[in-house]
């Protein structure tokens, strides 16, 4: 596999051989997660610390979200830093390590055995992130360009490393008492390192570059993005400090406000990019991606609700916490991936299949390589399934949960159908 990459090593862009396995893996992970959702939808009426919920959460966060983002970032980092990725071999090694570690860890959660499979899985994921971080660091060190987007991506990768280290500590803490409290007590820190540090920072860093680029917008505002960067990182550090060392839970509202201010600023950035765009028509994948930006406020509203219940309790906030996690993983992160897959994957495949034929023959457009109709049905199944599942969690209704899970499974089947169609695409000259 690696030897075959030599023909494209001279190119400025990362080889499709490195990027495509991440897309394929992530698509299957989404399918696996929605399949488990159908069989385990009843678990969502109980406490969120349930083996099946933990397994689904990690399949979504690691197999779906992280694998897709790692793959896409290998393709996009050269665009952001204006420098070739340092090593395709390291990128592929990170795929193999994470790709073998994630099923082990998730299986450990599913059967709730925090012994060897989960521990080995955790270590493999950790090695993968270290390789990813080193590859990014060397690529960026060689870059002459210093821009805010690159800072977002690199800092996000550091938070990802912290998330995985804390996660591994929590796995070991089940068997060996390494920490002063139970693993459940540290769950909010582990989760928010991943949510705000990794996903939020990375998606905003990359999105703030790609959204104006795809809209052909005249708008740029690095100063505003630096504020967003400071607010998210400052908010996250404050959250960790307050969570671990303060007994006054009301103070946690401060980091939430900082993150809320960052989100408002980012939405403002996207809105101005949209207003000042040269390209008027917004395609389906871009519409879903822009919708995901607005979906950022949903988890924030849930988080504020949870905090209010904790401070002014004693009201049970379990369903709200479960819904909070769900709207992040199945809402915001899934929506942006569903949209951005069809803004990136068709171009990677088109480049693979047609780059030597372009100019010689009339070739199809990248957007013709997947079915827009299937994409439309996928979007409907996803949006209805997502809203119903949220209602099901909050109303604790098993029938609604099951019906919603089936719709989400349908969305993942349609998504996979389009992804497989793209991955198996053969030259078709017009």
């Amino acid at each position: 596999m690696l030897a075959g990459m030599n023909d494209t090593e001279s190119s400025n862009t990362t080889s499709h051989q490195v990027v495509l396995p991440f897309y394929g893996y992530a698509s299957l992970a989404y399918l696996a997660a929605t399949l488990l959702l159908v069989f385990s939808s009843n678990a969502f009426t109980g406490h969120y610390f349930h083996p099946h919920i933990l397994a689904i959460t990690h399949i979504m966060a690691l197999g779906w979200g992280t694998m897709m983002i790692l793959g896409a970032s290998y393709q996009l980092v050269p665009v952001l830093i204006e420098r070739k990725l340092y090593s395709s071999g390291m990128a592929f090694a990170s795929f193999l390590l994470a790709g073998s570690g994630i099923p082990l860890l998730c299986f450990g959660f599913y059967v709730f055995d925090m012994g060897r499979p989960a521990q080995w899985g955790g270590w493999l994921i950790l090695f993968s992130i270290v390789v990813y971080l080193l590859n990014l660091a060397i690529s960026m060190a060689k870059s002459k360009e210093e821009n805010v987007h690159a800072f977002f991506v690199f800092t996000a990768a550091l938070w990802l490393l912290a998330t995985v280290v804390v996660g591994l500590l929590l796995v070991y803490n089940f068997t060996y008492p390494l920490l002063s409290k139970s693993s459940l007590d540290y769950l909010p820190v582990h989760a928010h390192l991943g949510i705000a540090g990794w996903f939020l920072l990375l998606i905003i860093g990359v999105g703030s570059r790609l959204i104006p680029m795809f809209l052909i917008s005249k708008y740029t505002n690095p100063r505003l993005l630096w504020w967003v960067y400071g607010l998210i990182n400052g908010g996250l550090l404050a959250f960790i400090g307050l969570f671990l060392y303060s007994t006054n839970r009301a103070l946690l509202l401060l980091p939430i406000l900082a993150i809320a201010a960052a989100l408002v600023s980012f939405v403002l950035f996207c809105y101005r990019s949209y207003q000042q765009r040269v390209r008027k028509k917004i395609e389906g994948p871009m519409q879903i991606s822009l919708l995901s930006v607005l979906m950022l406020f949903l988890p924030l509203a849930f988080l504020a609700g949870i905090l209010l219940l904790v401070v002014f309790g004693p009201v049970d906030s379990t369903a709200l916490v479960t819904a909070y996690g769900f709207v992040i993983l199945f809402g915001w992160i899934t929506a942006i991936i569903l949209g951005m897959t069809f803004k990136t994957l068709p171009f990677i495949v088109w480049n693979k299949v047609y780059h030597l034929l372009a100019g010689k023959h009339k070739t199809p457009n990248p957007k013709d390589l997947f079915s827009e109709r299937v994409f439309g049905w996928m979007s409907i199944a996803y949006l209805v399934g997502f809203v119903l599942f949220c209602i099901g969690i909050l109303a604790q209704n098993q029938v609604v949960l099951h019906a919603a899970a089936v719709l989400l499974l349908a969305s993942s089947l349609l998504y996979n159908w389009n992804v497989i169609r793209l991955l198996l695409h053969k030259p078709a000259l017009v």
Binding site: Q75, V79, S217, K280, H355, A358, G359
Partner: protein, 108 residues
């Protein structure tokens, strides 16, 4: 944006050929997108030089676009050597899009 050239007649032929080359993401041809900066024709050495840019440095579609430009120029100047060079000075910006290109983007 005006294309710099040392031979207006040949440049008109070359630009007509280059109008068949599209940026696959935007769907607009590279001439109206303002990616073509300069076309020079060296009759003594039999070389055609095309200086162009990309909407962003390290554009993932860059290689395909420059390759397609080379192939398009070969269709009219098959006897000559085609040299396509990339330049980011000045970097591309939306002001370089032609009126026809803007109309296309307003509709598409």
């Amino acid at each position: 944006m005006n294309v710099i050239t040392n031979n207006q007649l040949k440049a008109t032929i070359a630009l007509a050929a280059l109008q068949n080359v599209e940026d696959p993401e935007i769907g607009l041809n590279i001439v109206d997108l303002g990616l073509v900066y300069q076309l020079d024709f060296d009759g003594d050495t039999g070389k055609v030089y095309c200086t162009m840019t990309l909407t962003t440095r390290f554009c993932p579609m860059g290689e395909s676009i420059t390759h397609a430009a080379q192939e398009a120029l070969k269709t009219c100047f098959g006897e000559e050597e085609i040299i396509v060079e990339l330049s980011f000075d000045p970097p591309w910006n939306h002001e370089m899009i032609s009126e026809a290109g803007r109309e296309f983007l307003n509709e598409k």
